[in-house]
């Protein structure tokens, strides 16, 4: 745990032009994501940063960027520590994000995302096979 330091710049410097700063932990992580139809996709479980590697020297001409939103097993290290192999990461590209509000809005359909395979697996293998599973409740 490092001690909080005083900000190096005036507070306004950290904010976007609307005067509202974006805090990754407060405004992005653990927020609900919804697709273009308003269907819940997942919670933002973690973020992947591009352009910075542990132990490598920093290239200041290319600052790190948020490249992907991680979902699924990516939540485990945040709860229990340790790490999950990269092959197990379910990613949603940051390019698909259209708006940050009280939910994170995506421009795609939930069903078109690779990251939502678990939902599709349970739907196709179990729920859709039970009579009435594909019908709206009456």
């Amino acid at each position: 745990m490092t001690r909080a330091r005083k900000p190096q710049q005036p507070l306004e410097w950290y904010r976007d032009p609307d005067g509202r700063g974006v805090d990754a932990r407060l405004h992005v992580l653990d927020r609900q994501m919804i697709d273009t139809d308003g269907v819940p996709v997942s919670t933002v479980d973690d973020l992947e940063l591009d352009g910075v590697e542990i132990g490598e020297s920093i290239d200041h001409s290319r600052p790190p960027q948020v490249s992907e939103i991680l979902v699924g097993a990516a939540i485990l290290p945040r709860i229990f520590g340790g790490h999950v192999p990269r092959s197990r990461w379910d990613r949603i590209p940051w390019e698909d994000v259209t708006r940050l509000a009280t939910v994170v809005e995506l421009r795609v359909h939930a069903d078109d995302l690779d990251a939502t395979w678990v939902e599709r697996w349970f739907r196709d293998r179990v729920i859709a096979r039970i009579p009435g599973g594909r019908h709206a409740p009456e």
Binding site: G132, G133, A136, P137
Partner: protein
């Protein structure tokens, strides 16, 4: 006119849906032991659930976010998961108790059981969740639950000496025959029964299910601030009936037959039939609500698609988790545990979990990003803090009191 009808329907279902197996059993037990000596707890508990259900409903109506999405977002994944585990397990315990209550009510009606009724109850709950629209489910269970008003009727038919009945309610400090440890144990249990966390999960998720917006806030307030207190009067009537019939004879409440005994004595078979229908509707309605709540909490924590307004195939993991919860609840009952004891445990552990549910709601109800200009005012926050304090005290005291009083038998 349509609006008035909707509001009236909402209030009626809120009354009928307020009482569940926890309220039925705990109020009858308390009435048979202390008379109305713990009526003040019901009053505080109802005030608390009104305050926080209104907050959760307002957050859901204004921001469209249900309670557990907020809990995860505000507490982070680690504390959020601990909270989920506690809330989910207690909800599962309550679900088990409600299914047991349905089986016991069917046993009262049919004279056989309750073991054979458990699979029937489980299947019925699942079919309703699988195929019935949210509003129909809510209204039918709530309106049939109104037959519990027979407890109020029975109270008048018993022609009590009102002064004698009310005295312990207005002077609760007068020594009761039971030990003080047991008195405070039942105070916490009654508080847990009135403020059960699933009611908040269900109320806020229900607001999302019914697509409430800011314009529905008047309906929401009417449901909460008129419906819930009237439901609380039902709770008090159950306790008062037990105080009149069971307390003088020293009858202990160990099954549902003792709960309905005063009604049968006051109004005969017809009144008994009403009471059984009421208990069946109340426990069945609460079984639906707790089952849905288990799905809601999991789906909202992990961000799955959820809701009865979707086809089951469009909320696959939500429906799978509810089916699994029903199977687990049935499995617990199949071991032959007494549903009444499960109920008594569930209300005490509900009291333990209360702060986990209510604290994040208070925080978000103050967040302008979610609430816009509908944030809590000073009065709401003042009451919110006072009740949070009471909730924390009850939660901390619950387990020591449970052990010290030997589940109230000491």
């Amino acid at each position: 006119m349509k609006k008035i009808f909707a509001v009236a329907l909402g209030i009626l279902t809120a009354i009928g849906g307020f009482v569940d197996i926890g309220d039925l059993v705990t109020n009858a037990v308390v009435g048979s032991k202390f008379g109305l000596g713990l009526a003040w707890v019901v009053v505080i508990g109802v005030a608390g659930i009104c305050l926080y259900a209104d907050m959760a409903g307002r957050v859901a109506a204004v921001s469209g976010r249900a309670t557990f999405e907020i809990i995860r977002e505000r507490l982070g994944p680690r504390t959020g998961l601990a909270n989920l585990a506690a809330s989910f397990l207690i909800n599962l315990l309550t679900l088990t108790a409600e299914i047991g209550g349905v089986a016991l009510a069917l046993q009262l009606a049919a004279g056989v059981g309750p073991g054979m009724w458990i699979p029937v109850a489980l299947f019925a709950v699942w079919v309703v969740i699988w195929r019935t629209k949210f509003s129909i489910m809510e209204n039918v269970a709530g309106l049939l639950g109104l037959t519990l008003l027979v407890f109020v009727v029975a109270l008048f038919l018993l022609k009590p000496d009102w002064g004698h009945l009310i005295t312990p309610a207005v002077q609760p400090w007068l020594p009761a025959s039971e030990s003080p440890v047991s008195y405070w144990y039942f105070a916490v249990a009654l508080f847990g029964a009135a403020m059960t966390p699933y009611e908040v999960f269900f109320f806020s998720s229900g607001a999302v299910e019914e697509k409430w917006t800011k314009s529905d806030l008047a309906t929401e307030r009417a449901n909460v601030f008129i419906g819930f207190p009237l439901g609380g009067i039902l709770s008090l009537a159950i306790a008062a009936c037990a105080a009149l019939v069971l307390l003088p004879k020293g009858i202990e409440v160990s099954t549902l037959s003792e709960v309905v005994l005063p009604v049968a004595q006051a109004g005969g078979q017809l009144a008994l039939a009403f009471a059984i229908v009421g208990i069946l509707a109340a426990t069945f309605g609460a079984a639906l609500e707790t089952t849905l709540s288990s799905g809601y909490t999991l789906a909202q924590f992990f961000g799955w698609s959820w809701g009865k307004f979707r086809r089951p195939a469009q909320a696959a993991r939500f429906h799978i988790s509810m089916i699994i919860c029903l199977v687990i609840g049935g499995g617990i009952l199949a071991t032959g545990v007494d549903p009444i004891q499960v109920t008594e445990l569930s209300v005490v552990f509900s009291a333990v979990a209360l702060p986990l549910t209510y604290f994040p709601i208070l925080v978000v109800a103050n967040d302008p990003e979610y609430m816009g200009d509908e944030v809590n005012g000073r009065i709401r926050n003042g009451f919110g803090m006072v009740f949070l304090l009471i909730i924390v005290i009850a939660a901390v005291a619950a387990i020591p009191l449970l052990l010290a009083s030997g589940m109230g038998s000491a």
